[in-house]
Amino acid sequence: MSQLELRDIRKTYAGAPDETLKGININIASGEFLTLVGPSGCGKSTLMNSIAGLETITGGSILMDGKDISGMEPKDRGIAIVFQSYALYPTMSVRENIAFGLKIRRMPKEEIRQEVERVANLLQISPLLDKKPSRLSGGQQQRVAMGRALARRPKVYLFDEPLSNLDAKLRVEMRTEIKKLHQRLKTTIVYVTHDQIEAMTLADRIAVLKDGELQQLGTPKEVYDTPENLFVASFMGSPSMSFIEVTVDRSDTGLSVMVEGGDGRTLALPVPEYLENWAGRRVVLGIRPEHISQPHEQKRDNLMVAEGRFTVEVTEPTGPDVLAVIRLNDTDVQCRLDAEHPVEWGAEAELMFDMRKVVFFDPESEKRIRP
C-alpha cells in the first residue's frame, strides 16, 4: 500500500520526432484504483512501463511514498505487472511461476511454500499448481498471472489490459473478481485499458490520455457527466455522446438552441443561463442517448425539458432498451428508448429532451464551456 506520484513525466523515444509522453502529472493515493484509459497509441503503455522502470523516462520524476524511484532498477521498485498476454513462463509449472520471483530474491524454501499456498488460496488456483501454463484456460492463466504478482507483495500493482484476451463473458467475471480483490487487499492499483466500460466500472479515478497528454483526471462520474473536452466526451460512454452544432439564441423566455429534424421540423431546446456570453454564436451541444427518451409525465413541468416529434431512422434493440437514431441538424443522434413501448423503424416518435445534463463545447478549442 503505497502512494505514487507522477511528476511531469516526459518520454521521447530515441529517433522519434515527437514526445510520446508530454508531461504527465498524476497523484495516486494509497489504496486507490486508478485506470489509465485512452485509444491505442496514446502513450498509456509507455507510461506504465515507465512507472515499472522497463523504460527510462526523459524527464520528470516518479515518487513512491515521497521517495524518487525513477532511477531505480525495475526489480527494486516494488512494482508488479499483470500483462495482457499473461507472460507466464511456459516451461515452468504454475507453482514455479509464482515462486520464481521469490526464489530469485532468495526467500527461504519454507516461506516460499507458504506464500505460494496463500496466493493460491486467495485466487482459488490450488488445484492448478502442478500444471503447465499451456494446459490452462485463458481465465486460469489470468489468475496465475495475478498470483505471480501478488506473491511478491509489491507496493503497487500495474495491470496492462489484463482482460483483453478473454472472451466477453469471462471478461465480466474477471472484472468483478479484480474489483473484489482490490476491496479485500486495499492495494494501490494502476490499471491500463482501452475499454471505457472497464475503466468506468473498476476505477476510483480515471485518467484519460490522448497523444501523450492527460485529458482529464477524475472520478468516473465526473468524467462521464462533465467531460473536459470533446475527446473525453466522445471516448467515455457507450453508445457515445452525440454532438450537434447549434447557435445559441436569446428570447424573452431565456436562452435556447434550435434543432432541425430530418423532415425539416424544428424544435427549440432550452439551454442554461451560463451560455449568456455565447448568445448568437455557435457551440457544440453534447447529449447522451439516455437524455433523449419517450415522454415522462413527471418531467413535463421542468423548464429544461422539451418535447418534439422526430422520424426514427434506425432502431437497435439491446434488450432492456432500444437505441434509436434520429437526425438533428444533419447529424446522427442516438436516443435510448423504452423497450416496452416499441418504436417502428421509419415511423415518427414523440421524444423528450432532458437538457439538465447536456454539456456544451467551444467549437474552436473543443473544451467544455464551464458554468
Partner: protein, 289 residues
Amino acid sequence: MTDLVRTGFRFSRVAIYGVLLLACLVYLIPLIIMLITSFKTPMDIRTGNLLALPTDWTSMGWTKAWSEACTGVQCEGVKGYFWNSFKMTVPAVLISTLLGAFNGYVLSKWKFKGSDLMFGMMLFGCFVPFQVVLLPMAATLGKLGLANTTAGLVLVHVIYGVAFTTLFFRNYYVAIPDALVKAARLDGAGFFTIFFRILLPLSTPIFMVSLIWQFTQIWNDFLFGVVFASGDSQPITVALSNLVNTTTGVKEYNVDMAAAMIAALPTLVVYIVAGKYFIRGLTAGSVKG
C-alpha cells in the same frame, strides 16, 4: 457415375504412389550400391553386376577401411581420422551453437543502438564463400600458433558457424513475447538468469536445428580440413580422399565404399535421432500466451 469417379480416384492414387516410389528409388540407388558393394569381395565386384547382391557377404572391406587401408604413406585405416573429426566437430558445434544462442538473445531481447545493423552484418557472414577466407585465416592461425591443429580447425568452424546459428536463434527469439522478459525483470531476474532460466529452456527445437545444421556442415567440410590441418590432425573427409586416391595395384572398391559409409554415418545418425526436431524447429517458433 460414382464408379467412374472412384476408378479415376484410384488411378490417381496409384499414379501418385508410383511416382513417389520411383523418386525414392532413384534417390536411394547410390546408397544401396555403396552398401552392397562394401560387403562384396574384390573378385565379386570385378565379375558381377553393379546392382547384384554379394555372392559372398564379407565385412572385410569394413575392417580394412577402419584399421588397415592406406591413406598416403600410413596404412592404419580411417579410424584415427574418424576420432579427429569428432574431436573437431563436437566442440565446434557446441561452441558455435551456444554463442549463436547468446547472440540471438542479445540481438532480439536487449536491442541497443545499431543492433539491427550488427545483425545484418553478421548475416553477411552466411554468404562469404569458404575460399575467400583461406589465406587470411591461414595467416591468423599461424600468428595464433594454431596452424595444423584441431583447435585451429575448431576456431575456424566456430567463426564460420556463428553467422548461421545467430540467425537461427535471433529469429526464434524474436517470436517469443517481450512481456516474458519484462515479467522476469520485474521478478528480479538479471541478464544471465533470464537467458538460462527462461529463454534457453524454450529453445529445444531451434537448438536441434542448430545442432544438426552445424554438425552436418562441420563434419562434411573438406576444404578447411585439407588446408588448415595436416598429418595426424586431419579430419575423416580428408582421409577418405587420401584413401581413395592411394592405389597400390587393383582398386579396392569395397574398401572405398566402406570408408565412405563410415564417413557419412555420424551425420546420418544425428539426423535420424534429432530429425523430427529439425522439421519442428524450422516451422515452429512462437510461444502462445
